[in-house]
Subunit: 180 residues, 2 copies
């Protein structure tokens, strides 16, 4: 399936409410535990999504439109949320994510992108030449990667508690951690 702008926006616009419904006021064992050293909690994941809204997706989309392949994107800081989320509650992060996503989608819609724009090319600092359409598809799949990670890290907390059922529960067998 090709990237389709209205399908992309439809999914991107739902992520904040889905995370809010899942995580808000959830007991801390679910939101403040990770999968072991060097891994993230649900709190970290929401902070990471916020950082992406601020520095990654729309800033990169605008760089493609403005500079094309002539200027590489800024590398993405996968640990920025450790600094930026300090002192905030999960509820605050969920609200900040929803607000930033909504602003970014308003800006995306206002660009009125046509097929020729979606085919425009930019330069990723590690991946090389990418198109605006690929960037928008990656924004969606990045949301889904972190929803996938969230379900896995929360399930991890009950890894032992499920006893023999562990064999049947696919999420406990996932090894597809995100690359940097």
């Amino acid at each position: 399936m090709e990237q389709n702008l209205s399908d992309t926006i439809a999914l991107l616009s739902r992520t904040p409410a889905a995370l809010d419904a899942l995580l808000r006021d959830l007991p801390e064992p679910w939101t403040l535990r990770n999968e072991g050293e060097g891994t993230w909690t649900a709190f970290d994941v929401v902070g990471h999504l916020i950082h992406g809204e601020r520095t990654d997706w729309m800033p990169r989309a605008k760089m493609i439109l403005q500079f094309g392949e002539s200027k590489a994107f800024e590398p993405f800081d996968r640990w920025a949320q450790q600094r930026e989320s300090q002192g905030k509650s999960l509820a605050q992060l969920l609200e900040e994510f929803a607000r930033l996503r909504s602003e970014n989608l308003a800006e995306l819609r206002a660009l009125n992108l046509r097929p020729a724009d979606l085919a425009r090319r930019g330069r990723h600092p590690a991946l090389g030449v990418v198109t605006l359409s690929q960037l928008l598809a990656a924004w969606v799949v990045h949301d889904l990667t972190h929803l996938h990670q969230l379900s896995r890290l929360m399930a991890h907390q009950y890894r032992d508690a499920v006893g023999p059922w562990g064999k049947y529960l696919g999420v406990l067998h996932c090894t597809a951690h995100s690359a940097p």
Copy 2:
């Protein structure tokens, strides 16, 4: 982490609203496509969760309390939703799931389970002896397994569209499909 009844109920009670926020009125390319032959769509997943509410979790919990290890649970039909979801819309399924989950959690709360109850044992037709506590933990991780599956099957639709980003997006590398 041990299974904790209030943590369990907190998570179980959020799943229907999270799925509703993610899936309701989402364009059909996200909800009616699967990952290939013999796999499920988002529509199938919600139907499967409904079947679990009707026939699996609370009925099995009550069997443990009533019969202990003397009577094995009914095997779970993983394809029942193909029959039971026919002619329904995704919005109808989301509402049905929310209603059944809410009724089941009201029933679970009304049991006023004490630690001694949670240690009671029943018999799974394939896994053998299991405890009520393990059953409740498995109910949670079953929700998370299907949230994990949902994020993966939706991401699959943009597998090609993301171009070189595929390398970085963990959900596209997940092979942890659920066992029957």
